[in-house]
């Protein structure tokens, strides 16, 4: 029976990775849509929300069933418990992609985009953090996520810096307030995505090593 149980655990891991990749694609495309002012791509991201939810619920159900049927211990228990938390983080990341997509759709209807470069820099850094956390989870290898805490601190610093910059621009240029107000929202979404990357890194570390460390 242990062969069957292990094979189910591998399937669950694949399901979680599949959800993760799907969510990261949503976020990445929403950032691309923002950078290229592409409302169609933003709309495409928003359509994927339903599929994201289905993938999340399917993965979650498989994990609940695994717990109920096999009562795992040690590394199997850590893998399931960590994966349950991580798929929630993935779902949040996908939802942020959706939220950014929705914001871009509104932006494209009401105003001109005004110099989003600084936000794009934050977005790319956050995306790399999430991809590294995803890679660590997927390969069960924590070597790439050891500096996650420092990287998140940098994101927090950039978040504040961008926020200050946006406020300054709002004060100087009243016509752009409508767009810039939405930049504030996107800035906040990105900062939260950085936290999600840290959560994934924390749980992956627990899954692989059994150590509980705080990264955010």
């Amino acid at each position: 029976m242990s062969v069957k149980i292990r094979s189910e655990l591998m399937q669950i891991h694949d399901q979680a990775c599949n959800l993760g990749n799907f969510a990261i694609d949503m976020l990445q495309d929403s950032i691309n849509a923002f950078e290229q002012a592409d409302a169609d791509l933003a709309a495409d991201v928003c359509i994927r929300k339903k599929e994201l939810k289905i993938k999340f619920i399917t993965a979650e159900e498989s994990m609940f069933q695994y717990l109920a049927l096999y009562q795992p211990v040690a590394r199997d228990m850590r893998e399931i418990v960590a994966s349950l938390r991580i798929i929630y983080n993935f779902e949040r990341i996908g939802r942020m992609g959706y939220d950014i997509g929705e914001t871009i759709k509104v932006l494209s209807q009401c105003c001109e985009l005004a110099d989003p470069d600084k936000l794009i820099i934050v977005a790319r850094k956050v995306l790399t953090m999430i991809e590294d956390a995803m890679e660590a989870f997927s390969r069960r290898d924590v070597s790439q996520i050891k500096t996650m805490r420092q990287r998140d601190s940098e994101i927090d610093r950039l978040y504040c810096e961008v926020m200050r910059d946006i406020i300054k621009r709002m004060e100087q240029n009243k016509e752009n307030v409508s767009a810039l107000a939405r930049y504030v929202i996107i800035d906040r979404y990105l900062e939260r995505c950085g936290d999600q990357a840290c959560n994934i890194a924390e749980m992956t570390t627990y899954m692989v090593t059994g150590e509980r460390i705080e990264m955010s």
Partner: protein, 253 residues
């Protein structure tokens, strides 16, 4: 944990004739805690638990070196008395083995052979032990009926009550639930949880989930070696040895 060690096993080796069954086992057993011994068949866990009240003395060709200290005194020392020791360290076996006597006599037997004759005192012991074994309410109206008429789970609790009657400090249990259904098993597990308030309990079990449920400390044995010992929650959440992890997650062999 150090300050409340009731039993200390040091560098214990055991041979059955030419077969070297235990290798340099070191193990501290805490008082008023439950310690479980786990491991695959033939790993030496039953052999080890039988060392704790010198049951292996009865096996031909069995040799022991090393030390098992009970309250700091070596139970294999020159002046140690196995009969006296077995009063202090009682044992419950895999298969319930009540005497073919009444329920009352099963409990009263031990105190009687140790010289107690006072009927009122015997009544008090019988009731007290049956209560401690969570059996009193089920048998109080049929104390003078044969113990053989009890169910398997009740017989096992009667055997635990019988062990308690001679006022032990440690209760050894060698797979006490392996012949019982899940409901009887659950009652024994609840009982173990109660017993540890007054006694030290050492249990051999093949059930990983039972070890996880009932014990405070777990020792994993393999081929006569003690591979890992630690708090049960640590062993089942994050074992330090790969062999332990492979065994408890079913990746063995």
């Amino acid at each position: 944990m150090d300050k409340d060690i009731i039993l200390k096993v040091s560098e214990l080796d055991l041979w059955y004739g030419e077969v070297h069954a235990l290798h340099q086992v070191n193990l501290p057993i805490a008082n008023r805690k439950v310690t479980s011994l786990i491991g695959p068949s033939g790993c030496g866990k039953s052999t080890l638990i039988r060392c704790f009240n010198r049951m292996n003395d009865l096996v031909n060709g069995c040799r022991i070196s090393g030390c098992v200290e009970f309250h700091g005194e070596n139970i294999y020392g020159t002046f140690a008395d196995p009969v006296d020791l077995r009063k202090k360290i009682g044992m419950v076996f895999q298969k319930p083995n009540p005497f073919p006597k009444t329920i009352y006599e099963n409990i009263a037997y031990g105190p009687r052979i140790h010289g107690l004759k006072d009927r009122k005192e015997l009544d008090r012991i019988v009731e007290g032990c049956l209560r401690k074994a969570a059996l009193w309410n089920e048998v109080k109206d049929r104390l003078y009926e044969s113990a053989m008429g009890l169910s398997g789970g009740q017989q096992q609790r009667l055997c635990i009550a019988r062990t308690l009657a001679v006022n032990p400090e440690i209760i050894l249990m060698d797979e006490p639930c392996s012949a019982l259904d899940p409901i009887a098993t659950s009652k024994i597990e609840d009982l173990i949880d109660e017993l540890k308030k007054e006694y030290c309990v050492i249990i051999v079990t093949h059930s990983m989930s039972q070890a996880a449920r009932v014990s405070d400390y777990t020792a994993f044995m393999y081929l006569g070696d003690l591979i890992e010992f630690g708090e049960t929650r640590q062993i089942f959440e994050n074992p330090r040895k790969e062999l332990t992890e492979n065994y408890i997650t079913g990746r063995f062999g």
